[in-house]
């Protein structure tokens, strides 16, 4: 095979046509891991032997005429807060260095059933919060576009791993933007699905009512293929939705002529003004959507600060409750950044929490009303290009309301896709938000954008230094 990194969709077509072997594909990913991961730190635990065994099994099944779908033989990784039977699951923490679960998380189970090849466990901020940290057992992941820069988090290893082609797709989790943030800064696609669509069973909690599990991959189409395998009701997750599952790729390629796209200009132009490069990415997207025949409309919501306040209070309190026992007995064993977040829980009263949850109902109603007559809405994903990894503010939750939290508060599906390159050649992104369970429309719009723009044709320069053929 060539050194070019295929998307999941391309690899699936080649594998189905018996023009690409899952073993060759896995070996190519492993070659990139061996060449690059000492610098990127995307993996905390590489399962090389298992990956090769699974790739060989996939190859045998496919050659015997028993393919199990488009993910069969595709190398993937799992964020290290996802339980994996017999494989260490550390949650990036000193607390769980020796933890080897005896069952798989629901999402791990589903991807395995779809025939994926598990390459290993991917770097995360400690318990999916608070990084980048330099006082944990494993170092933070580095951005493949410039390794002096941050990936965003907390699904940092998944973002870095996909962008550098160490894996073709991976699992992230998102409590306030932890899928979409790394997707944006690493120049890939990542979707936080509708709350309850993908089971949280077996995944360490960050904040129960804001936590979402979702796929990250090079393209929106690849995310759709992964979501097909991941979605579905699971009685082990009390928030799991019972909703008919559509074909998530059904609307791809249909164009977006006549679709109505709302733009929340005030989020990224007033409430939290984005960088020049990010604004240029948004402007490019709006022009592209207009050219493709979509209708753009202005959307007005409560200030971003209101959404951030609501989400932050809920997140702080639910996290403090989840980790209360260890906070009381072993606070010093948390990383400094996670410890600081946990300490905040002592200052939030029960009444503060309930007021935040009452505000949540109002904000959801507001978004529901604003989206009437629209197909999707658009804003930024991140305020700017990736910061230097040693210059990430510790308390940015107070200083800079984030663009992703509103849709955790509302539970609405949201995807980040690459919208070009800004300062220093670092990626910038847009965020598209759909109505609950309308992921097919979200994929339709995101895919149309990716196919109308050249940004999916460019990988980080360091990838070109690796020969895999």
């Amino acid at each position: 095979m060539s050194d070019a990194i295929p998307t999941i969709a391309e690899a699936a077509r080649l594998i189905a046509a018996k023009q690409l072997s899952p073993v060759e594909l896995t070996r190519a990913c492993l070659a990139r891991v061996h060449a690059l991961d000492a610098e990127l730190h995307a993996f905390v635990h590489l399962t090389e032997e298992r990956a090769l065994a699974e790739a060989r099994a996939a190859e045998r099944a496919i050659m015997a005429g028993r393919p199990s779908g488009p993910l069969h033989g595709i190398p993937i990784g799992l964020k290290d807060i996802v339980d994996t039977k017999g494989i260490p699951t550390t949650c990036g923490s000193k607390f769980l260095q020796d933890n080897i679960p005896d069952t798989d998380a629901a999402c791990a189970e589903k991807l395995a059933a779809a025939g994926t090849v598990l390459m290993g466990k991917l770097t995360t901020h400690e318990f999916a919060d608070g990084g980048p940290s330099f006082d944990l057992p494993a170092p933070p992941a580095r951005n493949p576009w410039n390794t002096e820069h941050f990936t965003a988090g907390s699904s940092s290893g998944t973002g870095a791993g996909v962008a550098a082609g160490l894996i073709l797709g991976g699992i992230g989790t998102d409590t306030g933007g932890s899928i979409r943030g790394p997707a944006a800064l690493c120049g890939i696609a990542g979707i936080k699905p509708t709350y309850g669509l993908v089971s949280r069973a077996g995944v360490a909690p960050a904040a129960y009512s804001l936590d979402h599990i979702g796929p990250m991959a090079w393209t929106a189409e690849d995310c759709a293929l992964m979501l097909q395998a991941l979605a579905g009701h699971d009685p082990r997750d009390p928030a799991s939705a019972q909703h008919p599952l559509p074909d998530y790729t059904a609307l791809l390629g249909r164009g977006i002529k006549g679709l109505k796209i709302g733009v929340i200009h005030h989020f990224h132009e007033v409430d939290h003004r984005v960088s020049e490069g990010t604004q240029r990415g948004i402007d490019t997207a709006l022009a592209t959507f207009r050219d493709l025949g979509a209708e753009l409309r202005e959307v007005q919501l409560s200030p971003l600060q209101d959404w951030a306040a609501c989400g932050s209070l809920i997140s702080i309190t639910e996290r403090a409750a989840a980790y209360e026992e260890w906070s009381r007995t072993r606070l010093g064993d948390f990383s400094e950044r996670m410890r600081s977040r946990l300490m905040l829980g002592a200052l939030v009263s029960g009444v503060d929490y309930v007021q935040a949850v009452r505000r949540r109902r109002e904000l959801r109603a507001e978004l529901q009303a604003a989206m009437r007559g629209l197909d999707v809405v658009l804003t930024a994903t991140q305020p700017a290009e990736a910061a230097k990894i040693d210059a990430v503010p510790k308390w940015d939750l107070f200083d800079r309301p984030n663009f992703t939290m509103p849709f955790n508060v509302a539970g609405y599906p949201a995807i980040s896709v690459c919208a070009g390159f800004g300062a220093g050649g670092l990626p910038v992104a847009i965020q598209l938000v759909g109505k609950p369970f309308q992921e097919p429309t979200l994929f339709r719009v995101a895919d149309a954008f990716e196919k109308a723009t050249p940004f999916r044709g460019q990988r980080p320069a360091l990838v070109a230094t690796v020969a895999t053929a």
Binding site: T194, A309, L313, R328, A346, F437
Partner: protein
């Protein structure tokens, strides 16, 4: 939530939460207390006593 917090109040809250902090950690927490208080103020609106929280919800037809 008051925007300022004195040492006695902070010690009470930390004791109630069961957290044993160093003096340095307490000092840091005091520096962000006002910002946290501002978040708590932001979610308070004149909504009356009947406004329900969103503890549990189901997506309805009008969401779709």
């Amino acid at each position: 939530m008051q925007s300022e917090i004195n040492d006695a109040a902070l010690d009470y809250l930390l004791a109630r939460a069961g957290l044993d902090l160093t003096d340095e950690q307490k000092a840091e927490l005091k520096t962000v207390h006002a910002a946290l208080a501002a978040l708590a103020e932001r979610v308070r609106k004149p909504r009356g006593r009947m406004a329900e929280p969103a503890h549990a919800y189901a997506f309805a037809e009008e969401d779709l």
